[in-house]
């Protein structure tokens, strides 16, 4: 697990401004509540974006970073086009989710956190996303028995897609990849190193 630099420990707003993508926007929120009614999975957000911004200002570090809420973001961009203050709300939610993930504070077993990690790992390996390997990894993320159950439940859909040539079982043997895989991997590792340095993560690259 990585840790954030302790210099912000007593000021969560400052920590968010420095370490969370687009975090410098949080103080611009005027608490109008427009975004609160915008999320498609709204009933499943324990704290709406509006509330999260209020909690950040109130210094509720633990409550915000351990929250399930920002993981409910479907990236629909409803909020962004409606916010009278033009806050890039979607990106702040993504940024908070990523920050909580990197600190190891996201709720245990959060399914969107799990697929996000699988997706990225899949991408970095070949430069492109291999849908079959990604799906299988997703089904088996909770262990072998649950994986078989999950895969069985979706079997009809999988077979339908195979028949329609929209899921290729041969992908398991290789599949699509970029030629310059190694360049991509080095480039991504470098980007992560720079970002970790800038955001004060110790144990960079972990």
């Amino acid at each position: 697990m990585t840790t954030a630099t302790p210099k912000y420990r007593n000021n969560f707003l400052k920590e968010v401004e420095a370490n969370v993508e687009e975090g410098h926007w949080v103080k611009m929120c005027m608490q109008c509540g427009v975004c609160a009614g915008s999320c498609p999975l709204g009933p499943h957000w324990q704290h709406s974006p509006q509330k999260i911004f209020m909690m950040i200002r109130a210094g509720k570090r633990e409550e915000v970073l351990t929250s399930d809420s920002m993981w409910m973001c479907t990236s629909c961009y409803n909020c962004i086009v409606r916010c009278p203050r033009k806050l890039p709300i979607t990106h702040i939610m993504h940024g908070l989710a990523n920050y909580a993930h990197r600190l190891g504070m996201a709720p245990k077993g959060q399914p969107t956190e799990a697929i996000a990690k699988l997706f990225w790992d899949n991408l970095v390996k070949t430069g492109r996303v291999n849908e079959l390997k990604f799906s299988l990894a997703m089904y088996f993320k909770d262990g072998f028995v649950q994986g078989i159950k999950n895969a069985m439940a979706m079997q009809g859909i999988g077979l339908g897609l195979v028949k329609a040539k929209r899921l290729n079982p041969m992908e398991i043997l290789g599949g699509h990849a970029c030629k310059d895989k190694s360049g991509i991997q080095k480039m991504v590792a470098k980007a992560r190193e720079i970002e970790d340095r800038r955001k004060g993560f110790s144990g960079a690259g972990a």
């Binding site: 697929i115 991408l123 859909i157 040539k165």
Partner: protein, 299 residues
Amino acid sequence: MAKKQYAFYPGCSSQKGASASNFPTSVGVVCEKLDIQLNEIPDWNCCGASIGYGEGGELPRLVINARNLAQAENHLAGQDIVSGCPACWLATRETVERLHESDSLLAETNEALKEAGLNLKNTVKARHIVEVLIEDIGFEAMKKPVVKAIEGIKFAGYVGCQTNRPFGIAGESFENPQYLDRMIETVGAEAVKFDQKVTCCGGALAFSEPDKSQKQIRDIVESAYDHGADMIVTPCQLCQANVEIYQSEINKKQGTKFSMPVVYYSQLLTVAYGGSAKQAGLDGQLIRAEKLERIAGKQ
């Protein structure tokens, strides 16, 4: 007439044997008829989609998109990047804008790109195929190659989220964009009123939060039925896949009897331009679009 040239970014879901592989065949026909030439960006990579943030963070995500931009700059100088996938378009365009706004981010991006032997000047424009059709071709010219009117089929034009927000198509409203309905009418079909036009299908969360997202999908399909649509038509790969694929799941769990075909606007255009069902990629539907196949099969 000289063909219009674009740097093409196909995206992962449009690869052979992937979930939107029924999309590119129809796009090929449409471009052929409208004198558009799409030149694939050499060795393009994944955009990170809407879920890349979880592990990828900010700079790594910008950098993977910057690589595609740099490849286009180097190999297809002077051409706009065009993508048919809203997630690819969004990620690419966002990267262009963020790197324009911040010199320090651009410098950091180039520091990382150097590892792959690349450098970005950030001179390319990132566009969606729909923008090319509307802005560079226009509805009049889009109508010209029509040889078969798509008569007798009612479509629910489902724009979804990411083709529409945050960027959208210039001059259109976020709440009720008109261009898709106009495309439907351009090929002689009927666009029904559709109150779920810009509703979110759940996006990537259809996978991680299936029950929560299936409520979205159910609302979308139900509304299409309520408004008398025969089919849903969409510009979005994720909308297409989610709304088509999960109908059988919803039927199983909730006892509904959904069987609503979900096609791309490009498949409609292809059939109207005289393309076969196969050229339109209609053999790639899980829920067959029989009425459209019938028109495609008519001589």
